[in-house]
Amino acid sequence: MNVQSEAKRNFSRRGFLGLTAAAAAVPLLAACGGGSSSSSAGGAIKFWDMPWATTAYNDAAKKITDGFSGANSKASYQIIQWNNFYQTFSSAIASKTGPAVSTGGGFQAFQFEQQGQIAYADKVVDALKKNGQFDDFLPGVLEPFKSDKGYVAVPWQLDMRPLWYRKSLFDQAGVAVPTDWPSLLEAGKKLKGIGAVGFATGSGAGNNIGNHLMIMMMINNGGGVFTKDGQLDVMNDRNVEATEFLLELVSNGIIDPAAVSYTSDNLDAQWKNKKAAFGMYVLGVPQRVGDTSGDLMVASPMAGPHGDKATLVFPNNIMMYKNTPSQDASEAFLTYYMGQLKTLWQQKLMNALPVFKSITELPEFASDPNNVKIVKEYQPIAKTFAAQGTSLNANLAVLDGGQALNQFTQTILTGKTDAKSALTAFQSGLQSVLKK
């Protein structure tokens, strides 16, 4: 018998087919088994966190997570990118491989609560009452998370939308920083005369600042998209007035005619290149654009034509999920993590307001006069997307990232509309996607 026939005998066609089928079956069986795996392998609490700031933030958050040992459990840390984060969370939760505790989108907890996936945080709130942190919360930051069934999540940072100005441009234009809408109009015209943008914003790819500006101006005028009891109320007089004012700013060129296409990078460049003189933006603009000369400063909140003062805030939160190896361990971890938050601000890693008074008093935070001004002047008047209402809900996620608000914003920024038509389209767009 030659070598070839020997090989043929040892490795028959049927044998080969069997081997192939077995090889194919391995990943299939592995895939089938994936769905039933526990949320937290080995009993450790899976904590999913977003890239809230630089990588140094995530390193510090991981260190805090690794330091947890309570309720006979440990915790593991996982960064989840913002791109398609909702899909990431949804897929993981559906396959029961999601986190036990996570940060995430501002209204994510309410979306998953609606789908029965959230574990209420009442026991964590009780624990915070016991350790004194409950009384340390800034006023009004915890209430929005209380639903009929319990606390849906616990806030850990506030993403505020203050007004910023570049002092040198106002000096150059010889005009005072706006304190109300008429003075914004007047200042904007003079700033335009020196080639500056009087009310900087943007609504290009991936940039939500324009959307936030629309809602901010509505609630700054005592309006908003929802009533106190959460009913849709787009067409109220205050909203019409605010929209008309925004259109006036556009028609006067005080809002940049190209703002509709500005990405966050374009907007940053305007602030950095001394083109933007005034506008609503995020916290830490000087650090963000690399100009800490003191020329970029927080302005005081403007008053609307009826004397209302308000800005927009997104209370970012930490939520717990029902799929956990131990609810006690999840609660212990969240309580522990809330107690460690100050180290993030002590290391100056956060680009957001803390939720605890004690952190706002830390020298590392209070040494920045802009931070102090935001805490003192903006935090007390800040409102959420719920506007006149106090509690958050899943519908706000649709408002925040949805097409209706984005289309409304872009329609206003292009200026080719009137206030009532734009608001009518906005209302009908929202009605078609909001859950009843």
Partner: protein, 326 residues
């Protein structure tokens, strides 16, 4: 030489025949390809069993998501919970929505310009690179860059070129006294800009496909046509285009699929705006599912897109077969 002689010469050339009579090409076209191979029953069974694992894997990998998507398209739930069965309600909702038809219209124009724009540019450059130009190799590499560079990088670069009134291109227009066009802020200009960007990203692919097809065309065919008095234009339309027809149809099918399914080119440059001016069907589907959390209607849009793509692809595939027969 009369035009009749030139035409007959071109006809011979297209068939791959030298002026003097049939050459090697005739054997290539006629030799053995029509022979129907007859496989024994045992061999057929062997093939079947060999293919079975791959078929099972393919059905599971492609079939499961398709079936699950079908379930989502006929239910009113979310990504986690499929919700209640609603039949074809989601399709009816989508088809009665003006936003869908606006997006369909943009997708059509985006695809037409993307396919034929990139094909024309690719064809022109492929023909140019066929001639002996200095530093041709370097040019080839440089011309491939738009295809090679990650779309995130190129969209950012294009944004910086055109986004603000002070960007390079609007500044050039201003300095030429042509005003300051807002390329991404004006709905019409933004639509044009996205299509131009798509052509820029895609032409290297077309160039490569056509270059490969041109390389297989025997240069003696052109010599034969030239001897018969065919002009350069006649050689291009009567020899080059028919000879690359097969590759052309394949590249059109692929580019049609690339264009209809293209998400990053549009989303990174304009996000679908301003005011939905550049919202394609795939962007609309994404927004419906992940921004409005309307899973059923969003998946229904994706289904309708797939259906359209299948019809277009089958039509173009038939064209390929027809061109092969010819």
């Amino acid at each position: 030489m009369s035009s009749t002689t030139a035409q007959s010469g071109l006809a011979r050339a297209r068939r791959g025949l030298a002026p003097g009579g049939p050459g090697g090409g005739s054997r290539t076209h006629n030799g053995g390809l029509n022979r129907k191979s007859k496989l024994s029953g045992q061999t057929k069974r062997t093939f079947f069993w060999l293919l079975l694992p791959s078929i099972v894997l393919l059905v599971l990998i492609n079939g499961y998501p398709l079936i699950y998507a079908g379930v989502q398209a006929t239910h009113d739930g979310s990504l986690i919970d499929t919700g209640n069965f609603v039949g074809v309600d989601n399709f009816a909702t989508v088809l009665s929505s003006p936003a869908f038809w606006k997006a369909a219209q943009f997708t059509l124009w985006f695809t037409i310009v993307g396919v034929f724009g990139s094909w024309l540019v690719g064809l022109g450059l492929a023909l140019l690179l066929r001639t002996k130009i200095p530093a041709g190799g370097t040019f080839k590499v440089l011309l491939l860059l738009p295809w090679v560079v990650p779309i995130v990088v190129s969209s950012t670069a294009w944004n910086w070129l055109v986004a603000t009134p002070d960007s390079l291109i609007p500044s050039i227009f201003r300095n030429l006294g042509l005003g300051t066009p807002l390329f991404l802020a004006d709905p019409h200009l933004a639509a044009v800009m996205v299509m131009v960007f798509k052509v820029w990203v895609s032409f290297p692919f077309m160039m490569m496909m056509i270059s490969a097809a041109l390389a297989s065309v025997d240069t003696t065919v052109y010599e034969a046509a030239s001897m018969d008095g065919a002009s350069k234009w006649q050689q291009f339309t009567q020899i080059t285009l028919p000879m690359i027809a097969r590759s052309t149809y394949i590249s059109w099918i692929l580019m049609t699929i690339f264009c209809v399914n293209d998400f990053p080119t549009i989303y990174l440059l304009t996000g679908g705006g301003p005011v939905d001016a550049t919202t394609s069907l795939v962007v609309l589907a994404y927004r419906s599912v992940f921004q409005d959390f309307q899973t059923g209607p969003g998946v229904a849009i994706a289904f309708l897109m797939t259906l359209t793509l299948v019809v277009v692809s089958v039509f173009l595939y038939r064209q390929i077969r027809k061109s092969s027969v010819e």
